[in-house]
Amino acid sequence: MAQLTSDNPILQLEDVRQRYPNGHVGLDGVSFDVATSEVVAIVGPSGCGKSTLLRCVNGLETIAGGSIRLDGQVITGPGVRWELIRQRVGMVFQEYELFPHLDVLGNLLLGPLKVAKEERTEATARALGLLERVGLADRADAWPRQLSGGQKQRVAIIRCLMMRPELLLLDEITASLDPEMVREVLDVVAGLAADGMTMLIVTHEMSFARAVADRVLFMDAGRVIETASPERFFNQPATDRARQFLAMFRFDGPPQRGGAPS
């Protein structure tokens, strides 16, 4: 398959391989570039390695081969200071992982104050501005347990933004939400895309991927097997595997064999 290369790649993966300690191959040679301000949606069946891929990009998993570059700099060599890389690469997870011992503002300020050593008043002003932007201006003093799932995920997203990342990794951030809360979170992500934030988005929300992504990567069994524009991918997928995958999201009439996406 022809690789789409970008003029101005912020992230470059080259033949990235990863293997879990139990021998399971998580990534089996993944290569692609991401351009500045590009939004890339990663889709594929459950267990195909989407989370593993994102986790490799911010060092939560160690790669066994290949290389990952951020702004041209290899970040997967020996002696990488991941805590420095991670300030530039934000990640939001599926679980509502706000820190329960800190209130909303405390969650937002932890990174800026302790990692970026920012000034409190300035960071607070920025935090309040971001809360306002995601419609949570009045929740700065709330505790995580007092928030709905959708509110927590919105806070988790702006907690990443507080670090002014160059790249945002979103791993199925709406997968644990009640359906009526999915939209409010996706709206925030769509807003970021419109502002030019570079993002790698793993999602099962196909219509969302179609709407915000500049490019879709389809993964199966630890490899990227199709790369296309959303238009192309959703209308005329090139591989059988992608066609089967997309068919699972359509419900046309009476029950047939095959199941819902997991």
């Binding site: 939560l60 991670r86 990640m91 820190f99 932890l110 302790k114 988790a156 990443c160």
Partner: protein, 225 residues
């Protein structure tokens, strides 16, 4: 005489003696708890760590303490230590040693539970913000563990206070022993003193433990989950 038993309480220094007995119990429990914290916290952190050998030894220790009735430990420390090892331990010293051994085991298990109950994604989202491993522990894991640990540790204090009633059996004159002495001394003049004296002991234990267990409840409420 209608209130004969009640009179006994206020005869001479009896009530003061009961309070002094209670203080003996509390002092032993608190000293043992303090020492338990000194050992239990590092033991617990080690139990939550990856040090295989250390963990194996600590687990064996915990199992030993849990299998042994505290009374047996008290007898061993008090009688065995004095006769076989030639140490002349006072009953109080033996009690502090045994309750420390027990408390350290209990507390280390509570610490282990509190630390390991912090979910993996808490570590990961902290790391993802750029916190160093050290900062993740200090700013995210420890505060959350402490919130889980503190109510349980406070409850352990009340359990230790209650269990001090056993040390009467190795001759320590604590509140229960004082009560028995008062009752015995008045056996013929006030045959119904037992009810009143033990009733007072009941109230004293309650007065000592209730505020502590309220504190634990309060902490649990203040920091849910």
């Amino acid at each position: 005489m209608v209130n004969s038993g009640l009179e006994v309480l206020f005869e001479g220094r009896n009530f003061i003696r009961l309070l002094a007995g209670l203080w003996t119990s509390l002092r032993i429990a608190l000293a043992a708890f303090g020492l338990s914290a000194v050992f239990g916290l590092p033991f617990g952190l080690l139990l939550a760590s990856k040090h295989r050998v250390v963990k194996f030894i600590l687990r064996a220790y915990l199992r030993f303490i849990w299998i042994m009735p505290q009374l047996v430990l008290l007898f061993v420390a008090y009688f065995y230590a004095s006769s076989a090892l030639g140490l002349n331990l006072s009953g109080q010293a033996a009690a502090v040693i045994v309750f420390t051994a027990w408390g350290a085991a209990e507390l280390s298990d509570l610490v282990r539970g509190a630390v390991t109950s912090v979910p993996r994604h808490q570590y990961e989202s902290a790391q993802a913000l750029g916190l160093t491993a050290n900062q993740v522990q200090r700013l995210v894991v420890l505060p959350q563990s402490a919130r889980r640990l503190l109510p349980q540790a406070v409850n352990l204090v009340t359990r230790m206070i209650k269990t001090t009633s056993l040390i009467v059996l190795i001759g320590v004159v604590e509140v229960l022993k004082v009560a028995q002495q008062i009752i015995d001394a008045n056996r013929f003049s006030h045959p119904d003193a037992a009810l009143w004296v033990y009733g007072t002991v009941f109230v004293l234990y309650f007065a000592a433990c209730y505020p502590i267990s309220r504190l634990a409840k309060h902490l649990e409420k203040k920091w849910p989950n």
